[in-house]
């Protein structure tokens, strides 16, 4: 039964693509954490980055969705079955262009998900148009003229939208990126990992050479402490993180910008008003027995009785 066997798709990313580093780090993080891969769902958008789940070399479950909508799918999966670990892989165009509404909205909810943002500055799969993270005045290879849009800063946006873990990694520092992922995958609440992802085919500015020279680790700063430990620290930690997120040029920081585990996750918020949410997984509730409904609607009928 060879057909029945699980197998990855042949990886069709361009040679040298930063996505390979992201995929490697993600697989390693999952393996090192010993996550039950059957309870793991990788949800992706559309773009080169969107193919990530298909290219896993370990068995996982992948849901390759619509352009910009991965977060909405991930939310539906997580909330109906909170026992699953749900990770989103999406492009910068996907998450910050067409899907930016969801990117912001999920922040208000703090759903327990990890969003991995493949930031390559371009729309890879549609042949190199400017992405929302490309700075004004820059002209990458396939742009007919320099970009006249300003850029969105994923870190700043995530912090101000309510993400409770916000970090940046670099695709070619797999070890460091993997550690960020491990932190994110094993926590409650919403995490963003922005990954600086060179696209050797279309982005001739933000190349490996460009980043190799510039990235440095926040961890190496003597007094960098991004963690909110008390409610009162929130404002200060947030502003420091936002300020830091604006550093871009000769030096580019990677690492954890902000972390606040004090905010209740969306699952916890639901359970607060519906206790049974913790006891019975909605997706696993037995709604039927011998072909008949198990739900009792007596109370509901009574309310409407005349």
């Amino acid at each position: 039964m060879a057909e029945l066997e699980w197998k990855p798709l042949w990886n069709d990313w361009c040679p040298g693509c930063g996505n390979f580093g992201i995929l490697n780090a993600e697989q390693l993080a999952i393996q090192e954490l010993g996550l039950d891969t059957k309870k793991l769902v990788i949800v992706s958008g559309i773009g080169c980055s969107g193919k990530t789940p298909h290219f896993f070399r370990i068995p996982i479950t992948g849901v390759h969705t619509l352009h910009g909508r991965a977060i909405t799918f991930a939310t539906g999966i997580k909330l109906s079955n909170p026992s699953l670990t749900v990770i989103v892989n999406g492009g910068d165009g996907d998450l910050l262009g067409i899907g930016v509404g969801h990117f912001v909205s999920v922040g208000r909810r703090n759903v327990s998900l990890t969003v991995i943002l493949h930031n390559n500055g371009v729309y890879g799969l549609t042949k190199g148009q400017a992405s929302p993270t490309l700075k004004r005045g820059l002209k990458t290879k396939s742009l007919p003229r320099p970009n006249i849009n300003d850029d969105v800063n994923p870190i700043t946006l995530a912090i101000s939208s309510g993400y409770t873990f916000v970090a940046r990694g670099y695709a070619y520092d797999v070890k460091h990126l993997k550690e960020l992922m491990k932190m994110a995958f094993s926590r409650k609440g919403l995490s963003l990992i922005e990954v600086l992802q060179p696209c050797p085919t279309y982005n001739d500015i933000f190349t490996k050479e460009y980043f190799d020279k510039r990235v440095y680790k926040l961890d190496n700063l003597p007094d960098w402490d991004p963690v909110v430990r008390r409610e009162e620290e929130k404002g200060e930690k947030m502003s420091k993180a936002i300020l830091k997120s604006m550093e871009w040029g000769e030096r580019i920081p990677i690492g954890v910008f902000y972390r606040n585990d004090l905010v209740p996750s969306f699952e916890e918020r639901i359970a607060e008003s519906a206790k049974s949410y913790k006891e019975v997984i909605p997706a696993k509730a037995r709604i039927e027995a011998n072909g008949s409904p198990t739900t009792i609607i007596e109370d509901i009928l009574k309310e409407k009785e005349v």
Binding site: L4, L9, V41, V63, G76, I77, P282
Partner: protein, 629 residues
């Protein structure tokens, strides 16, 4: 016995509550009611009204002509005076109000009414309208609301501004007293509604005062009731059906007239169920998410369905437009997701709070590319309940999106029904080929004879989903032979559904085979059936009514057989194109001979449908209805 009653007033002034109290009081005496609520896309100040039909047998439609009009403002009189046949209750305070002094009235209404009063040589004021009614034999009942208010204020020792709130109750108490019904039932209905002491007292005193002033005009035999009854509107009927059918996840973005369904579910997010393993009564949670838009709503619901949750969303035209891409993904990935589509007037925001049946073809053709969708249209509140369960069953059985069509005309209308009509014991749950694979590696999209693959849920096995064309594993595949097979597999499911769902369940027939057939679907059903009863009663005319209930897969064979020998086929529906008629023609080759259509945003009423059918029978090919204010 059948009486139609209407109350009107400014939106936000408590009309809904009063109409409900009135309805409850009547229901407690064993009367059946069908009621419709009309309102502007506005929160406070514009004209809204309730139109009820009260009957000793099951009521299923409204009438544009009303026996009793209850009013306390001038605008209500201006909107409805031409439709009153027997009694008009009016406020003595507004008699001199001129048509042009009512700020909130739409200019077109003022112009139309002004013209009519002028033609009749009447004053363009409430008094003119009253004279108009009087000359038509309508009995006028003047009510000095201020006096009642003063009396209430004095008795309760509250300021006039507080006592004012009893105005609504005064209007319904007058109507109720005119009907000659026992006061206690009204008092009890008031007690059920107003929990707050002052309001309760206020309303009770108003009732006392009214009863001491008003003489009955009717003496209705009180039917009494042997059976357990409920009062349900369309939103609640669907919500209850979904809950009973095992709903576990519902996402939505607020939109009229859909959101009340989701709000109701959220208010009942924890439901009791009997754990089949232990027999214990336990609670489970229905996750309700107010999404950021309808793109999120459909995709969240679709994704929840991948985990095995029975999941749904509810929306209206503008939201459904946004859901098109998401529905395509669900179709491509064979996901059992249900969309309750409450139709309202389009295009664009159109008539946001008014009814429509113009989205039938859109529902059938939503999304790019070809994929199977099942489309169900409910014709009344009982069907709305049952179809909500059916929608889940069909979605899971055929692993494809189901669109459940309901209209504003059902959503915001209510019926009093016998609980037994719901047929609770007969309701089944069919989860289709839902499996827990023993093998971790399984083919989500395995080819099968009927096109339906065994379905495992996320977390129970490794699997892939993608909106790209895919192979049996769910991996992207652009290979032409696989494309042909996989495409065919998906489409085949609709053929399987067409084979398996009895055509008799997709069409409902009323009346004997006859040379005249009326085709209809959705909310006009009740009005059509009542109109035909009336025509048959008066003229001995025999008509067969064909209600189309499932549009996809379409019951082509049975319908063709039914229509083949008909001489006259009248299509009654709420749109311009006669969309169902066109579909009938496409699927059976037989075209309706006549059309009775309506697209003014107001529900079809039995009296106008009756007139429309008569015109059609007299040879008018295309009758356009325009009733309702």
């Amino acid at each position: 016995m059948r009486i139609s009653w209407m109350i009107g007033g400014a939106q936000g002034s408590g009309i809904d509550t009063s109409a409900n109290v009135f309805g409850n009081a009547l229901a407690s005496l064993g009367f059946y009611i069908y009621g419709n609520r009309e309102y502007y896309s506005n929160i406070k100040g514009r004209h809204s009204y309730f139109n009820l039909t009260i009957s000793d047998v099951r009521a299923r439609s409204i009438s544009n002509k009303v026996d009793i009009l209850a009013s306390f403002d001038a605008e209500t009189v201006f909107h409805h005076f031409t439709d009153v046949t027997r009694i008009a209750i009016y406020n003595t305070d507004v008699v001199n109000t001129s048509l042009y002094n009512v700020q909130s009235i739409e200019p077109e209404v003022a112009e139309r009414v002004g013209k009519l009063l002028e033609e009749k040589g009447l004053e363009k004021s409430v008094s003119g309208a009253l004279k108009y009614m009087e000359s038509n034999g309508v009995k006028l009942i003047p009510v000095n609301y201020d006096e009642v208010t003063k009396e209430v204020a004095a008795k309760l020792k509250v300021p006039l501004s507080v006592a004012e709130r009893a105005k609504n109750t005064t209007a319904i108490a007058v109507s109720y007293a005119l009907l000659g019904l026992p006061k206690e039932n009204l008092t009890r209905a008031i007690e059920r509604t107003f929990k707050q002491e002052t309001f309760l007292k206020l309303n009770e005193i108003a009732v006392e005062t009214v009863f001491s002033l008003v003489r009955p005009e009717f003496s209705l035999p009180i039917p009494g009731k042997a059976k357990r009854r409920i009062q349900v509107d369309g939103n609640t009927a669907v919500a209850m059906g979904k809950i009973y059918g095992g709903l576990e996840f519902q996402s939505y973005y607020p939109i009229t007239p859909a959101s009340d369904e989701s709000t109701y579910i959220e208010a009942h997010q924890e439901v009791w169920y009997e754990d089949p393993k232990t027999g214990d009564k336990r609670k489970r949670t229905i996750v309700v998410v107010q999404a950021e838009d309808e793109l999120a709503a459909i995709n969240m619901a679709t994704a929840a369905a991948l985990t095995g949750a029975r999941s749904a969303t509810a929306t209206s035209g503008p939201g459904f437009s946004l859901m098109a891409e998401g529905l395509g993904w669900a179709g491509m990935n064979e996901v059992p997701v249900v969309v309750t589509f409450y139709m309202r007037g389009g295009p664009s925001t159109g008539l946001p709070t008014r009814t429509s049946q113009a989205d039938l073809k859109f529902a059938l053709n939503v999304g790019h590319g070809e994929f199977p969708k099942i489309v169900i249209a409910s014709g009344d509140h009982v069907e709305a309940f049952q179809d909500a369960v059916l929608a889940f069953n069909l979605a899971e059985k055929y692993q494809t999106p189901v669109i459940h069509l309901v209209e504003k005309a059902l959503a915001n209308a209510y019926s009093i029904i016998d609980v037994e009509e719901l047929g609770l014991e007969k309701i089944k749950i069919d989860r289709g080929k839902l499996i827990t694979p023993s093998d971790h590696f399984y083919q989500r999209f395995a080819f099968t004879e009927d096109g339906i693959s065994p379905r495992a849920v996320l977390g129970d096995a490794f699997m892939y989903y993608t909106g790209d064309e895919h192979n049996v594993l769910g991996h992207i595949s652009e290979e032409p032979v696989n494309r042909t097979k996989m495409y065919q597999k998906r489409m085949k499911k609709l053929e399987t559904a067409d084979r398996e769902i009895p055509e008799e369940e997709r069409i409902k027939l009323f009346g004997e085979d006859s040379r005249v057939a009326v085709i209809t679907w959705g909310s006009p059903k009740g009005a059509v059936l009542d109109a035909i009863d009336e025509l048959e009663r008066r003229g001995g005319l025999k008509v067969q009514v064909i209600q189309l209930r499932i549009f996809s897969p379409f019951p082509s064979r049975l319908l063709k057989k039914l229509l083949e020998d008909k001489e006259v086929i009248i299509d009654v529906e709420g749109n311009y194109e006669g969309q169902a008629g066109e579909i009938v023609k496409e699927k059976t080759g037989i075209e309706p001979t006549h059309y009775v259509l309506k697209w003014n945003g107001r529900p079809m009423a039995r009296d106008e449908v009756e007139e429309g059918l008569l015109k059609a029978l007299n040879g008018e090919r295309r009758v356009v209805l325009n009733g309702g204010a």
